[in-house]
Amino acid sequence: MPVILKIILTVSFNTDEASVTVKECIEGIIGGIDYNQNKVNQWTASIVEHSLTQLVKQGKPFKFIVNCAIMQKSGAGLHTANSCYWDTATDGSCTVRWENRTMYCVVSVFAVAVTC
């Protein structure tokens, strides 16, 4: 017997899930470590790669852009902002702020839905 299905599909970006994924990546790479100028480049690259891999693994149809900034705590202030023009129903971004005693880390993930 033929089965009749009426389905409405929308895929939208889940910011909370992505947030958790990214936070775990950061913790795994620089959790409990002090700022070290020699290693900080390795760290930013690892964080970006690792987060990206984890996000892609989720298998959702998105294009991702991941940005990571690490700043040493020296008393200076850091201020950033971002905004996008896209399909607000399906696309989304999330920004994760993380800090320890010696440094700040800000990771932004932008997810743009793949339509085909």
Partner: protein, 496 residues
């Protein structure tokens, strides 16, 4: 359906028209879905912002008494420069004439170099000159303020008449008053201390001057008793008002301890004053943070100390060790504790378990660390008692100051009901701080108007006789007996 293009065409129809489709199997359906193209609707996303504010840097600057920006060409300059200028003006700056002048002067002195404007300014602002000027002006100021009586007759003939005057009423006499128009006017004296190294130096700290908000909030001035000049030796200022500090330890291994009303005790190294070396949270019974208003260390002890709090209780505590933090509580005052002092007069008998506390409840109470109830309560004051301190030399003597401007000296061996000596400061100021000098002969007090007054205490009062210590042992025994009797009576009354 089957073939890909067919599926693609179908998918477009599917979504556009929302019509019903027939698929051969689930696989085809999935492919069809994945091929859909929906109409794009684009919009602006909300702006995401990340802010890490800059850290507020607490700065402290040290300034010597004569600020550098008031120096100009017209002020007194070292002799050589004056001579140079005069000579330079006298001679025209032409080569031939200069050479001639040089030759003329060769025998008298080295020819003065004519400095350009720039060089002069550079010299005046150089470190060497500034240090010299600073030292020189301080010495000159001291010399100008000295008033030496050249007609003093050491044979004593003149003194015969005055002897009577000097003996009578010589309990306490005002020696000096220190006040600075710019830095201490309108600020309350928050803390005082005498230098152990130079007995004539006294440091006073002040809180903020509400009338002048752009001046630094915290000021500390070093005053010199030895010379009659009326300006402070050194001036320090910092951004935050200074409340209370204490240096504990020996000359080599010492810490600066500061304590605050948020219950935190911080220990600082004098090399790095931007961050405390370590902090200790003072919490009573693991829950209540103690709002500390005063602190005292017993003589020679750098670990155990007593603190008084806003709620009227006094606590003993330790800085280090397994029992770091609050140990015992001494309840008795009905108002915030304003001052604490641990017994420090060394002698044949050790009284270091005694300490006294002053409070807003108009009383000064005597305690021993061996008991959590007060030994005695001194209730002669009619105003908030702001500070109290044991004499460093006399075991039974202590001073206290209150909000009505009264400075009282109590001698436990003489009388515990009334003070042995008392003086009221002129003007309607409250006395905020009292500090004996290390010799035990002078008392410094600070008032709410920024004045520091130093009193000389008469010998009969402040110099202890050899039997003071044993007399104090008797006095304490009496006090103890009276207290126990008092408690028994109170208990009987409750029962009845």
């Amino acid at each position: 359906m089957g073939d890909r293009s067919g599926l693609q065409a179908a998918s477009q129809l599917f979504w556009k028209q929302g019509c019903t489709m027939m698929f051969k199997d689930v696989a085809d359906f999935c492919i069809c879905v994945s091929m859909t193209r929906r109409g794009l609707r684009l919009g602006m996303a909300k702006v995401t912002q990340v802010d890490f504010p800059p850290k507020e840097m607490v700065s402290y600057s040290k300034e010597t008494q004569t600020p550098t920006d008031t120096q100009t060409h017209t002020q007194a300059r070292p002799e050589e420069e004056e001579d140079e200028e005069e000579l330079a003006e006298a001679k025209p700056a032409e080569d031939s004439q200069e050479k001639k002048a040089d030759q003329e002067e060769k025998q008298e002195e080295a020819p003065p170099k004519e400095l350009t404007e720039e060089e002069k300014m550079h010299l005046l602002h150089s470190d060497e000159f500034l240090t010299f000027f600073d030292r020189g002006s301080r010495i000159v100021e001291r010399a100008l303020s000295e008033r030496v009586d050249v007609c003093f007759d050491y044979s004593g003939r003149d003194l015969e008449d005055k002897e009577g005057e000097m003996q009578a009423g010589a309990k306490m006499s005002l020696n000096r008053t220190f006040s600075d128009e710019r830095w201490s006017k309108n600020r309350v004296v928050t803390c005082l201390d005498w230098s152990p190294q130079y007995p004539e130096l006294l440091v006073a700290s002040y809180n903020n001057n509400e009338d002048v908000p752009h001046e630094p909030d915290g000021v500390a001035l070093v005053w010199n008793m030895k010379y009659k000049k009326t300006t402070p030796e050194y001036t320090f200022h910092c951004q935050h008002p200074v409340y209370c500090v204490n240096v504990v330890g020996t000359q080599n291994a010492h810490n600066l301890i500061s304590i605050s009303t948020d219950g935190k005790m911080c220990s600082w190294s004098l090399d790095m004053l931007s961050q405390p070396q370590d902090c200790l949270e003072l919490v009573f019974k693991q829950s209540k943070a103690v709002a500390v208003t005063s602190m005292a260390f017993p003589l020679g002890d750098v670990n155990n100390f007593v603190v008084g709090s806003e709620d009227g209780s006094v606590y003993t505590a330790c800085r280090h060790g397994s029992k770091a933090g609050i140990s015992d509580v001494f309840e008795g005052h009905h108002g915030p504790v304003t001052g604490l002092s641990c017994h420090s007069a060394g002698g044949p008998v050790d009284f270091s378990h005694l300490f006294i506390s002053a409070s807003f409840d108009w009383t000064v109470k005597l305690w021993t660390t061996k008991s959590t109830r007060p030994l005695y309560s001194f209730e002669d004051s009619c105003d908030y008692v702001y500070d109290v301190m044991w004499s460093p030399t006399h075991p039974a003597l202590f001073a206290c100051v209150d909000g009505s401007g009264r400075l009282d000296l109590w001698n436990l061996n003489n009388d515990t009901e009334v003070p042995s000596a008392s003086v009221v400061v002129d003007g309607s100021t409250a006395l905020n701080r009292v500090r004996w000098s290390h010799s035990g002969r002078e008392i410094a007090t600070g008032d709410s108007d920024g004045q520091v007054l130093v009193y000389d205490v008469g010998e009969p009062i402040c110099v202890p006789k050899p039997d003071e210590w044993s007399r104090l042992v008797h006095t304490l025994m009496e006090i103890n007996e009276n207290r126990d009797e008092g408690d028994e009576l109170a208990a009987q009354r409750l029962v009845a």
